[in-house]
């Protein structure tokens, strides 16, 4: 009895703590996001004025026809993009996060936080390695993994064959929860497309295809300023990528439709951010004339198209590709560029990364800090992009399998720390930020699962 009571009071205390904290953080988030949002909008508007291009305009019929004809090869249509700049890049966003401060810091919510020497100064709760080991228990050394136990040296009878068989069974029964559990050990390449669709609850119904066609019509009829930003981003990133250049045209088809999809606004209900608003010309400040701009409320930043690119390896039917991407965005990716206290939010991920490094690789952390190479400055871009464009595609897909399986982005921070641990010897020898960047410039040869396993389960903590 006594035990239960004390358990209960503990639980209550924790809830109260959470509530207290959350309203605090909510305030914090709103403030921070508010000012960031203002900056982005200002940047967008000024670009608009500078280039004398409206935020949105209706296309003349001739142009509409032309675009319809060119729908499958927009990559070859090269408008003059030299005057456009991305609205912001990940490093700009990092600066905002660095400047987040908790006004009640002095209360010493967590004493240990005083000794936190990383860039993030917001004391959010993050998991330590024992908690991560529990959370990611299926990645343990005694459990079979795709990405490790399907390599050349391991005979397929030991793990792979059985795993594939189970995967086929899960698909046959269309069991979404089972699929999510299953995919924690990785997905066989041939089953991945279907498994992800099952977990994300995407099934191509006629109404979904119709919805996509409707969006396509919107694109044909109206031209948005963000379209140019999307073009520019694709040309700067995916078009130059060894893996994704082939799919350039799909990226336009998905992203242009995405920016017009008002159903995406729905995710702002659980996102502490709010969609940027714009006003009809001449009605500035009048709420009745406020519209969300772009219609989906998401302003693309430099590298945004890389969220879509890896999906092109799995889906080649545009409306399916679109649905999968949209669902991935509203479940996961949006957290990587909005300010929140959610454990999968970018702020928490940054803090988790820094804490892991400082706690378990202190020598490396201090050394890098000494030479002016704060580790987060290097790993931030990896996490914001969920490692897309940095890892080889097959490895990236194995990583995203686990994001879906655990319904969490924390694995990104763990992987980032694991990469630093892997290259620690070389990093200890560098004497500048540039040199540190060079050591970590090429991740394309890394094998993700062994790195994660070693970092979580085979390192002495």
């Amino acid at each position: 009895m006594l035990q239960e009571e004390s358990d209960l009071s503990l639980v209550i205390a924790q809830i109260v703590q959470k509530l207290k904290g959350s309203s605090l953080y909510a305030q914090l988030e709103r403030q921070a996001w508010g000012s960031w949002e203002k900056r982005i909008l200002k940047s967008l508007n000024s670009m608009c004025t500078e280039l004398s291009i409206p935020l949105a305009r209706k296309r003349p019929v001739g142009e509409q026809k032309e675009l319809l004809n060119k729908w499958n090869e927009m990559g070859t249509d090269e408008p003059d993009l030299s005057l456009f700049r991305p609205v912001y890049a990940p490093k700009d966003f990092l600066e905002v996060l660095i400047n987040l401060r908790n006004p009640n810091y002095e209360n010493g919510d967590s004493l240990s936080f005083r000794t936190h020497l990383g860039l993030i100064q917001v004391p959010l709760k993050v998991k330590d390695i024992p908690e991560l080991k529990e959370f990611f228990v299926e990645l343990g050394l005694t459990t079979g993994q795709l990405g490790i136990d399907d390599s050349t040296q391991v005979p397929p009878e030991l793990f792979e064959n059985e795993h594939v068989r189970i995967g086929q069974k899960v698909l046959a029964e269309q069991d979404s929860a089972a699929a999510q559990q299953y995919i924690r050990q990785g997905s066989p390449t041939a089953l991945r497309a279907e498994l992800w669709a099952l977990i994300l609850n995407i099934s191509s119904q006629p109404e979904d295809i119709l919805y996509y066609e409707q969006l396509k019509t919107n694109v044909i009829q109206h031209d948005l300023l963000v379209d140019s930003l999307i073009y520019k981003d694709v040309k700067l990133t995916a078009s130059n990528d060894d893996y994704y250049f082939v799919f350039e045209d799909y990226l336009y088809q998905v992203l242009l439709c995405f920016s017009r999809d008002t159903s995406v606004l729905g995710h702002f209900a659980y996102n502490s951010a709010s969609p940027p608003k714009s006003y009809i010309r001449g009605k500035l400040g009048l709420e009745e004339y406020a519209v969300f701009y772009p219609p989906n409320g998401v302003i693309p930043f430099h590298g945004f198209s890389m969220y879509v690119a890896p999906l092109c390896f799995l889906y080649h039917e545009p409306s399916k590709l679109y649905q999968i991407f949209r669902e991935m965005y509203v479940r996961f990716f949006f957290r990587l560029h909005s300010i929140s206290s959610h454990p999968s939010g970018i702020v928490s991920l940054c803090l988790l990364f820094e804490t892991l490094l400082q706690t378990y690789l202190p020598q490396l952390f201090y050394h890098l800090r000494e030479i002016g190479a704060q580790p987060l400055r290097i790993s931030f871009k990896w996490m914001v992009r969920a490692f897309s464009g940095y890892l080889a595609t097959d490895q990236l897909l194995l990583l995203w399998d686990r994001i879906l399986g655990y319904n969490s982005l924390e694995i990104l921070a763990v992987l980032a720390a694991a990469v630093f641990a892997f290259r620690a010897v070389n990093l200890m020898e560098v004497t500048s930020l540039a040199a540190a960047e060079a050591v970590l410039a090429d991740l394309s040869t890394l094998k993700v699962m062994p790195l994660l396993q070693i970092f979580l389960f085979a390192t002495v903590t």
């Binding site: 499958n72 090869e73 990559g75 070859t76 399907d150 390599s151 050349t152 066989p188 390449t189 041939a190 991945r192 497309a193 078009s239 130059n240 990528d241 060894d242 893996y243 250049f245 082939v246 799919f247 350039e248 045209d249 799909y250 092109c312 390896f313 799995l314 889906y315 080649h316 595609t393 097959d394 897909l397």
Partner: protein, 478 residues
């Protein structure tokens, strides 16, 4: 190797009147000159400065007439010494022109036991478009005659296992046969390729007979000289339903190293690549002239507006595999790759009987393969001198490693070669190569494997698959 033809041509008025006599005279003189040259070379070697030979003793001496850094860097990193072709050399990476001269009747000379070259004397049996097709047709007929199950045909008369070259005719020799075939399906497109050229030069597409009138043998308006082998063309049925990725056509470039033809021993380089066109594919007849849509040669594509110098329009074969497995499934992808290996081996077997299996030779071929939208691979051509030019940074690394691995197999331990060695390198030196087919090994395994191992049927339990992590392909065909 200067040509002595010029000197010989003018000799003797008798030669001018009687061609047979002239020919016999030429042969006699050529033989004499060859013997004299071999003596000369030997003399030169003996007369060389002893201190120089002491310094170079034990080091492989190389020559090349292809000035490419991926080659030269590889020679230098092995501590090999560069010499000229007139000196005593051990390793000569030659152009196809040079190999012709070395083995020609008039200008050739015998190679000694410690000399190795990178071409087989009559590689053109495989690498000339017309001869390749001829040899494959001959090979198929032979198998059919001996009742081999490999030559089995389906109800339409098409070979089940050996139909991997698009229907091809030589022009002008087979002109009439071609016309007959053309009229059977008049809406088809055909591709005209000059036999002796490379890099996409001189290739064009036709869909009307009038476009190739001048190759007609009976044509009175023909000013085309049919005897000159340089002008010979092949015409093949154009594969107008290629597999498209991202809406673009691509082909596969695979490297295959042959160390000996009898017994056949060949290796496949694991890091092949796909070459994409920069322009979206369309079978529309209005775009038949647009080479950027149809020809995947980098030499052509790199002049397109959209050519990108970072990735060079290339994908690794592993990417292709990942994409196909993810979008089409594992079985059909594995079947496709098995078929690709199969057709390469069959093409080598087809020319093996006619190849001059000179023990001084090895060769690294560039195989061009196109996959159609039914996931069937087609052999387009084989290149004797695959390009060693690098179009991107990744390319340079790939070709450097390719040469490195090739040299490790062809010149064991980087030491002065002995052409009498058994050409069986240990597994550790293969690098990125894997054994594609080893006739000796295959024969040792017994005859019962043949039936189980044709493409489309699952390989036995030992059969692995090439994949991202590089599981070796164990081929068990005969």
């Amino acid at each position: 190797m200067g040509s002595n033809l010029a000197r010989q041509r003018g000799r003797g008025r008798a030669a001018g009147r009687d061609p047979a006599y002239a020919k016999a005279l030429r042969w006699k003189r050529a033989e004499k000159a060859s013997v004299a040259r071999t003596e000369q070379v030997k003399e030169k070697a003996a007369l060389r400065c002893t201190w120089r030979s002491r310094i170079m003793a034990g080091k492989v001496k190389w020559v090349t007439d292809i000035e490419k850094s991926v080659l030269i860097n590889n020679f230098e990193k092995r501590g090999w010494v560069q010499v000229t072709e007139n000196e005593d050399w051990n390793f000569y990476w030659m152009s196809v022109q040079t190999i012709r001269n070395v083995f020609s009747v008039e200008t050739g000379y015998r190679l000694s036991d410690d000399q190795i070259v990178n071409h087989f004397p009559n590689h053109y049996e495989l690498t000339r478009k017309d001869l390749m097709v001829k040899n494959i047709k001959r090979y198929r007929k032979e198998l059919e005659k001996e009742g081999s199950p490999l030559a089995e045909k389906d109800e339409n008369g098409k070979y089940l296992y050996l139909d991997f070259v698009p229907v091809t005719y030589m022009l002008p020799a087979d002109y009439n046969l071609f016309v007959e075939e053309f009229r059977k399906s008049p809406s088809s497109t055909w591709i005209m390729k000059p036999c002796g050229k490379a890099q996409g030069k001189g290739i064009f597409l036709i869909n009307k007979l009038s476009q190739i009138k001048k190759w007609s043998r009976d044509s009175k308006t023909s000013s085309f000289v049919s005897q000159s082998t340089k002008e010979a063309y092949v015409i093949s049925l154009y594969i107008n339903n290629p597999l498209l990725i991202g809406g673009r056509k691509f082909d596969l470039r695979l490297y295959v190293l042959v160390s000996t033809y009898r017994p056949l021993r060949c290796y496949m380089y694991k890091l092949g690549f796909c070459r994409f066109c920069t322009v979206k594919y369309t079978p529309s007849t209005s775009e038949l002239d647009n080479m950027f849509v149809h020809l995947t040669n980098v030499a052509i594509q790199k002049h397109g507006e959209d050519y990108n110098h970072i990735h060079g329009g290339k994908w690794t074969v592993n990417n292709l595999r990942l994409y196909l497995e993810s979008t089409r499934g594992k079985e059909v992808t594995s079947k496709l790759f098995d078929e690709i290996h199969w057709i390469i081996v069959q093409s080598l077997k087809a020319v093996a009987p006619v190849m001059n299996n000179d023990k001084h030779c090895f060769e690294c071929y560039g195989y061009d393969i196109i996959i159609d939208d039914k996931l069937k691979p087609w052999l387009i051509e084989v290149n004797a001198s695959p390009s060693l030019t690098s179009s991107t940074a990744n390319d340079r690394i790939l070709k450097y490693n390719l040469i490195n691995d090739t040299l490790n197999i062809a010149v064991p331990n980087g030491e002065i070669p002995d052409c009498k060695w058994n050409k069986s390198p240990p597994k550790e030196v293969l690098g990125n190569y894997e054994i594609l087919y080893d006739e000796e090994l295959a024969q040792g395994d017994g005859a019962d494997r043949e039936l189980r191992s044709r493409p489309g049927q699952s390989l036995g339990p030992k059969g692995g698959r090439s994949r991202d992590s590089g599981r070796t392909v164990l081929t068990t065909w005969k």
